[in-house]
Every structure is written in C-alpha cells, then in structure tokens.
C-alpha cells in the first residue's frame, strides 16, 4: 500500500487534522490512566489507537468516491451486523443491553458505532447525486428510511444513547441538501413546544420509564432528587468537575473521585469529569479548543470538497462528532440527562476510536482529492 502512495498524496495529506486527533487520543489515554490506573483500559486504548491509525491510513489513502459508490454494500453489511448482534449467542448482553459482538482476539465490538459510517455514506451517495433546488418530500422520506432501518435495530438492543447520535447525521444532510429554512424553523419551534408536552405525555402514559424520568429530573434539580439514587451520577460528576478548580488536583490521585469509586464509569462515559478533576479548567478549555480546531479543520475540508457527496460525508461526520461532544460533556457538567454517549476520541473503547478514525480518514481522503476533476 505504501508503494502506491504518491508524493502528491503526502503533500496534500492533512497532517494537522490527524495530529490534533492523535493528540486528543493521547491526552485521553492519560485521563483513562488517571481514571483507572490499576486497570488496563489505558493500554488497550493505545493498542486501539494503533489499530485505528492503520484503518485511518487505509481509508485516508483510498479514493472516497469508490467507497461512496460501495455504500449500499457497506450499508447492507451494517444492517446484517445489527441483526447479528441481536441473536443470542452472537451478541453479548451487558447491563441489559445487547449491543456487543464477541470477536476472538480483539474481544468485543459494537456494531452501532460502525454502522454510522455506512449510514453517512449511504445518505451522502443519495443526496450527493441531487441537483439544485429545495429538498422534496420524497427525498426526505428516502433519507428517513435510510436512517430508520439501522435505528430500529439499535432500539431493539436497546441502546438509546447510540440511537440518538444518528439523528444529527440526517439533520446535517437535510440542512445541507437545501431543506427549506421554514421547515427548519418549524422543526425547532415544534421541538421546543412538543418536547415538554411529549415528556409529559410519556410520563403519563408510562412510555417513559421511571429511571428515564428520574434521570431527567435529576438534571433539573440534582440535589433535591434522592442524591443516592438517580441523581447520584449527575451529582458525583458535578462534584468531580468542580473539585478540579482552575488547574486540577495535581497528582493527589489517592483521593480522586474515580479512585474512591464515587464517579461511575470514569474511563468511558465520564472521562471528561476525570479530565476536569485532573487538569482543571485549563485542561478542559484546552481540550474544548482542540475539538474546536478539529471541527474547524473538518468544515474547512468540507468547503474544499470536490463534490457534494464528499462535502456531505465530512459535514455529517463533523456534525455527529459535535453532537456527541455536546451530549457527553453536557451530561458530565450536569445539565443534560445521563445518556450513554461516549466522548469522541477520549472515552475508552476500541469501537468508538476505530469508527472515529475511519470517519476522519474519509475526511482526509476527500481533502486529498479536492483538486481532482
């Protein structure tokens, strides 16, 4: 493969984007170590980064247009994986959720993390082919259908946290495919009005389960809800973040919230709280800035994309990433409900880091071909 990489490829290769992403992962490895120094999550994450970089290179040096062309096949494989995970014996059940497939050697992987990529490709393939003018209803329905199939399967696992991260992909694609602004406004207004109403109806009808309701109430007023019960995670997360102060706890790891097990899931969902505790406001703001630069690089890449499909792929990935960052950090900072959305590039997890780097690989691939045609 190295042989086919031409000089031009290397010149056009987006080193900065890759370096920022790798830097965030390395920073994340340090935090995973802080969170669980006695466990091997941090070393697994380094291995994960290695695997991810290989995948990243393969995707990055490939021609994204060929991959987009293959989108239906990949999409099909994705759906098959999502079906497989539901089959007992193949899929593993952890905490009541059947969202893992056991793989020899690697351990386990989470199809719902990866299927985002074929979904984005499928959407990009379909909407990248369209011409000017506003989005038509039929097109919207097809877009929804592309999303609905994997989403339905993920909800069967059930994994609401993963499912929710699929919506921004479609939203970005619609928005950039010329959806009428009035629909956007209507959707936002309807969302603001209907969300509380739907919540109320959900609670009344029992559709929203008790634990879900309490998680939501916990963020409205965490200290008045039973602090040992459902608000526990929210409160402990806020304590952990606040405790970090300006510059963090500076090595006093013996009394860290993660060490004393006050903070749940410190290496995965609550990795940002660990970061906040260990590096303080300075470290957190630096991390958020790194994300800002990364997303800016992606958006800049999108602007230079040679075709609509490439632009859509990059923007959908950037949008999805931003959405996950906001959901995860918002949860850690105690103003969004506790939903299991991992923090891209930071949370421990092979599937997440692999899929994120594959996504960035697409971005690189698109950027490398900006002058072609």
């Amino acid at each position: 493969m190295v042989a086919i990489i031409e000089k031009r490829d290397l010149r056009d290769f987006d080193w900065l984007t890759m370096l920022i992403a790798v830097a965030i992962v390395c920073f994340g490895v340090w935090q995973i170590f802080n969170a669980q120094p006695t466990e091997n999550y941090w070393s697994k994450q380094i291995i994960g980064l290695g695997i991810a970089l290989v995948a990243f290179a393969v995707v990055g040096f490939s021609d994204y247009r060929r991959i987009v062309d293959a989108a239906p096949v990949l999409y099909g494989i994705g759906l098959v994986l999502l079906v497989l995970v539901l089959i007992p014996g193949i899929g593993m059940k952890i905490n009541g959720q059947q969202c893992w497939i056991r793989v020899p050697l690697i351990g386990q992987f989470q199809p719902s993390e990866f299927v985002k990529i074929p979904v984005v490709l499928m959407l990009a393939k379909y909407f990248g082919a369209r011409k000017s003018g506003s989005l038509k209803l039929k097109e919207m329905l097809i877009g929804i259908a592309i999303l609905a199939a994997p989403l339905g399967l993920i909800m069967l696992e059930p994994d609401a946290g993963q499912a929710i991260t699929y919506f921004p992909l479609l939203a970005v694609i619609f928005f950039l495919s010329g959806i009428k602004i009035r629909y956007v406004v209507i959707t936002i207004v309807a969302g603001i009005v209907l969300a509380p109403a739907a919540y109320w109806a959900g609670v009344k009808s029992g559709k929203i389960k008790d634990y879900q309701r309490q998680r939501i109430e916990a963020i409205i007023d965490p200290e008045s809800v039973d602090p040992r019960g459902f608000a526990y995670h929210t409160i402990q997360s806020m304590i952990t973040v606040g405790k970090g102060g300006l510059t963090g706890i500076k090595g006093d790891t013996e009394t860290s919230q993660a060490k004393l097990k006050f903070l749940p899931e410190p290496h995965s969902d609550f990795i940002f709280a660990v970061t906040a505790e260990n590096t303080g406001f300075v470290g957190c703001i630096s991390l958020l800035l790194a994300y800002a630069i990364l997303i800016s690089r992606l958006v800049a890449g999108a602007r230079e994309a040679p075709d609509r499909a490439g632009m859509l792929v990059i923007m959908a990935i950037a949008g999805g990433m931003m959405f996950q960052i906001f959901m995860n950090v918002g949860m850690v900072l105690g103003f969004l409900p506790v939903i299991g959305v991992p923090l891209p590039l930071m949370s421990a997890g092979l599937s997440a880091i692999l899929s994120t780097f594959i996504a960035i690989g697409f971005v690189i691939s698109v950027k490398m071909r900006r002058f072609v045609n």
Partner: protein
C-alpha cells in the same frame, strides 16, 4: 467550492453549522467556568465531606484495684460487630433484620431496636451490634461485606469483671447509655452520645466521669461504599483513670464466704476502718454476675438472664448494705444509750433503769426477754435488756429519740460513694403521717421504737457508721471506697485542637467526721457494755476470741414487712475490735435466720479470723524481713 449553488445558500448553511458548533462549545466552556471557577471550592468541600470519615476509637475505662493492688475490674480488647448508619440511612433495611439476627446470633428484637436507634442518629454514627464477635461472626461479616457494607468488625475494649459475683454490688457494671438518660441536659453537656458506655450502678456509676476515658478517632478516607481506603491521621484515646479502692479482696472474699455459709444465704457483711471510714469489704447476698450485663445484652440467652435477675424475688441486683432497710432490733440500743446519757435521762454515776421484766402500756404488757431488776447501762447493753430501754425511751420521750436520730445522722444518707443510697426511716420520718392518721404518737410506738422495731428501719451502712463511732470517741467518718485515682497523661501536643490535657490523680477528700458529743466516762461506760456483750457473759459470748477483744451488739429483729408470716427474725451483729483501740468494724446481718448471736455473730467472727490471719501473717512477714 465547485458544488456551491446559489439556490441553496450552501456556503451560509455550512457556516451556520460551524457557528452552531462554536456556540455549543462556548456553552460548555461557560458551564465549566461556573462549576470549576465559581463553584470550585463548594464542590471541593463536598468531595472532601463525602470521602473523609471520623471513626471513633473508644477509650478503655480505668481499671479498679483493691487496696493491695489486686485487680477487681479490667478492660480487655474484644471484637465487636458495629453497625454504621451511613450506608443504610436512606434505604429500608427491614428485610435484613432476620439476616443480621441469624448471621450474628443476636436477638431479633434487639436488631430492630438498634436499627431504630441508629436511624435517628447522625449519618456518620456507628453502634455496636454484637460484642465479643466469634470467628464465625467475623467470617460472616467479611463474607457479606458487599451486601452489607454497614457492618464492620472493630477491636474495642470491653469491661470484664474477673471476680464475677464477688463485690458485684460495689463495682456495678457498665452498659450503653440509655436514650432516656441522654435526654437530660447535664448528660448531653458531658459530651455523651448514643452508644457510649457508661457506669451503671456501683463505683462504675459513681465515679463514671473519672473512670471513663476520652475517645480518640481515626480520620480515614472511604470510598463510595463507605469502605476504608486509607488513614489520614489517628488521635489516640485517653484511657480513663485507674481507681484504687479501699477494698481488701481477702476480707471481701471472707465476708462473702460467711454469707454463703449462712442459713438463708441472704444478708449483708460490711467491714470498715472506723478510724477513717474506709470500707474494707461490703458483701450483699444474693449477688449477680456483672459480666452478664456487659456481654449478654445482645444475645437472647443474656437477655433472658438479665430479665431473670430483675424478676428474682430474692432481689440479687440490689445492694442490701446501702439500699436495704431493716429493723435494727437491739443494735439500736447503742445510739439510744448515748442519747440517754447526752440528754441527761441517765448519768454515768446513776445509769440504773428499771427492767421489771417488761412494761404495761394501757392494758398491753410488752415483755423483756429476761428479768434484770434495775440494771446499770453497761449491764443493760451486755444482757440486751429490753425493759431497760422501754423505760429509758419513755423517759426520753419520742422527741428524745428523734433528737438521737438527727444526732446520729439516721435522717440522712451516710454519703458513701455509691449511687442510690437509701435513707433510713425512723420515728422522725413517720411522725407526720402517724399524727395525721392516729391523732397522736402513742407510748407503745415509743416503746417499740426503743428496741428498733415498728417505725425504725435503717440501712446497714448507716447503722455500722453510728455504732462503730463508739470505738473512736464518737467520730462518725463518711464511709467510702475511694482510696485514690491515679493520674493519666495528656494526649497530643498542647495548643493543638486535638490536645487532651492530663488528668491529675486525687484521693478521697476526707471531710471532717461528724462527732457524737459525749464525755470519756460516758463513752467508757458504753464500751464496757459492748465489750461485755462478747467478753463478759453477754448475748454474744459465743463470738469471744482469744487475744482479740471484740466490742459489739447483737440484734434480733422481728420483721413483718416481708409478709411471709412465719419468717424468722433478721439476725444482727454490729461490732468493732479491738474494743479499746479498734482497727476494724464488722457488721453482719443475716436475713430471716433467727437469733443475732447465733447467726450473725459467727459470720462476724469469721471475718475477724480472716483479718487476724492476714494481719498476723503480715506481721510474721515483717519480722522475717526484719530478721534478714
């Protein structure tokens, strides 16, 4: 961008997404600023509060020794299973009650009580759920540490009474402070908290403040389940002060042996030093085992045993020496003789009073046990002539008897250093209610009162204090057990918040004795009578010992208050020896055993023999040492 299309404003739309991304990141940054910079200290404190715990280290109580340094009460380390409130404060644990009770073999009802009590306490309190945990108990707790993080095994001091029933009434026992006790503001002021161990009864209670130490604590870091991770600092406890008592264990054992050998095995033997009020022995029978109260209050068997003690009609829990009130019978004649002389009804020169074999009041004849003519005072004492005292009391009138009661402090507590001492009851006590009921104080009541019956019931300790003063020129010392409290050193460095200052040692304050006013001649006349009781053909001739002159007075008190109809009389012998330079005073009272001389006398004699054996042994030892 080649794909830009003016109809879709793509450039603006991409920018919009980028701006939204920046806005979202800015929201996160602002929230971070609020949590970490604005509220940083608040959360830092919250984090510290939830990980720092103070685990109290109970202080060992001071030990109690006899006058020769023999140990009477001690503390030993024992494993206790403790229950902490924090993990269970907010949850319902009723489904765990049976598990606790079964797993630790404790009374189910007790578990319920404990849970109710601890749930009312502060979040970080702990309480003992089971003392003396066995290996099985400890294993059980360890095995269930994940399910029941509220249970912990801790090494704590426990009170032990190695002598068991011996001296139980004097020593008392310890137990957890009762919720009722804690309601008292003065108890709260001392810093006592639920679960604290305090003295209950006896010296343990009377000197609790000094015997009790000051608890230390361990400052530890705990994890989210309350499990100790590491220790930050340890403030050691300050042990309580050791008490050296006036008790002579050998005499105590001899005294209890005498009671055990008595016919009813119920009664009192008290041995004091009349020269200063020190109590050398105080035996009250039947007795109890204080260890049951310390160790048994959590187990079903122990609780049963404690309940049995309370219900036992022979009342093993109460100290007959200070809480029992008995008719003194003829022993009462000693203070009465002093009062007769003091009040001038009789004089040393002319102390003859008619016996007449008895007296007729109205149409009722009350007889004397013998016919003594008109004996002098010393003979009346020696022979215990009732008739003499019938007539003497009528001459003194009831006012004279009341004056005597006041003079000999029978209307007060002796002030002995034991809790819950009872006050004797005398005509002074009964006068108002009898006047109200009967309209007047009749002569027959005066006659009965003259021989320690009817309206006269006294505590053995007050009687011994009064009568033994005859040997020391009327000096009535306050009977006491405290010889000395040993000092205990300070804990920590002065000036630090955790500093506990030293506690100095101190002895019994020895207040001035109450003095019974009498001339040497008057004193000598009474002593002559008391000497005669044992040594000159008196009522207690059988008690006579070679080379050891005992002065004493017998008493045989009829009793009706037990309501047992044909119950035998209480037998008394109150004495001191040597008669003219007393070293010790001995009181023996055997309930319902009959004649004083026959039943109480030998008990007292047995104590004297033990005393002499020890005294002579010591002298021989000293001579041996001198020879060397």
């Amino acid at each position: 961008m080649k794909i830009y299309d003016h109809t879709q404003n793509l450039g603006i739309r991409v920018s919009t997404i980028q701006i939204i991304a920046f806005v979202l990141l800015t929201i996160l940054g602002a929230r971070l600023y609020y949590l970490q910079i604005v509220r940083g200290e608040y959360y830092d404190e919250k984090a510290e509060n939830q990980r720092i715990r103070l685990i109290p280290i109970p202080a060992p109580r001071g030990a109690i020794f006899d006058r020769n340094g023999k140990i009477l009460v001690d503390s030993r380390p024992t494993y206790n299973v403790t229950l902490s409130n924090e993990p269970i404060k907010k949850i319902d644990v009723t489904d765990r009650i049976d598990d606790y009770a079964m797993g630790l073999n404790v009374d189910r009802q007790y578990v319920v009580e404990r849970l109710n009590l601890i749930k009312k306490q502060n979040e970080f309190e702990t309480m003992v759920l089971k003392e003396n945990a066995t290996i099985q108990d400890i294993t059980w707790v360890e095995a269930h540490s994940m399910e029941y993080p509220e249970l912990r095994v801790e090494l704590q001091p426990q009170r032990v009474y190695p002598l068991k029933q011996t001296l139980a009434h004097v020593l008392g026992y310890v137990g957890e402070i009762s919720p009722k006790e804690l309601e008292k503001p003065e108890v709260r002021e001392k810093g006592l908290r639920p679960g604290d161990i305090v003295g209950k009864g006896g010296l343990e209670q009377y000197y609790d403040e000094y015997l009790r130490g000051k608890p230390g604590y361990r400052k530890v870091i705990v994890d989210s389940r309350g499990r100790v991770q590491s220790e930050i600092e340890t403030i050691p406890p300050q042990a309580g002060q050791d008490l050296v008592s006036t008790i002579d264990l050998d005499l105590q054992l001899a005294a209890e042996q005498q009671l055990a050998n008595s016919s009813t095995k119920r009664g009192v033997v008290i041995v004091t030093d009349p020269n200063n009020g020190e109590v050398l022995a105080m035996a009250s029978m039947p007795s109890f085992d204080p260890n049951i109260f310390v160790q048994g209050s959590t187990t079903p068997e122990g609780r049963k045993q404690i309940a049995a003690y309370w219900q036992d009609e022979s009342r093993p829990l109460y100290n007959r020496a200070t809480q029992g009130r008995y008719h003194p019978g003829s022993t009462w004649k000693i203070p009465e003789s002093v009062a007769g002389l003091q009040q001038g009804v009789i004089t040393v020169k002319d102390s003859h009073v008619l016996c007449g074999g008895g007296i007729t009041i109205g149409n009722k004849f009350t007889r004397c046990m013998g016919s003594h003519g008109a004996p002098p005072l010393d003979l009346a004492i020696t022979k215990s002539c009732d008739g003499y005292y019938y007539h003497l009391a009528l001459k003194m009138k009831i006012e004279g008897l009341i004056q005597m009661v006041e003079n000999f402090d029978f209307d007060k507590r002796t002030g002995i250093d034991l809790p819950n001492e009872k006050i004797s009851q005398t005509p002074k006590t009964w006068m108002p209610s009898i006047l109200k009921r009967e309209g007047k104080w009749s002569d027959i009541r005066t006659v009965y009162a003259s021989i320690g019956q009817d309206t006269v019931v006294v505590t053995p300790i007050s009687l011994l204090r009064a009568i033994s003063s005859m040997g020391v020129h009327g000096r009535m010392y306050i009977p006491h057990f405290l010889k000395e409290f040993k000092p205990i050193g300070a804990i920590g460095t002065e000036g630090e918040s955790t500093y506990i200052p030293e506690r100095p040692g101190f002895g019994f304050p020895h207040p001035e004795p109450k003095i019974i006013e009498m001339t040497d001649e008057q004193n000598a006349l009474i002593l002559k009578g008391m000497w005669g009781v044992v040594n000159n053909g008196g009522t207690a001739g059988s008690v006579k010992m070679a080379n050891w002159e005992i002065a004493g007075k017998t008493g045989t008190a009829q009793n009706s208050e037990l309501g047992s109809g044909g119950a035998k009389d209480h037998a008394w012998f109150v004495s001191f020896a040597p008669a003219y330079k007393p070293e010790i005073a001995v009181l023996a009272m055997i309930e319902n055993s009959g004649f004083g001389a026959a039943n109480a006398g030998p008990a007292a004699k047995g104590v004297y023999e033990a005393y002499l054996q020890k005294r002579n042994g010591r002298q021989t030892d000293n001579q041996d040492v001198a020879k060397k």
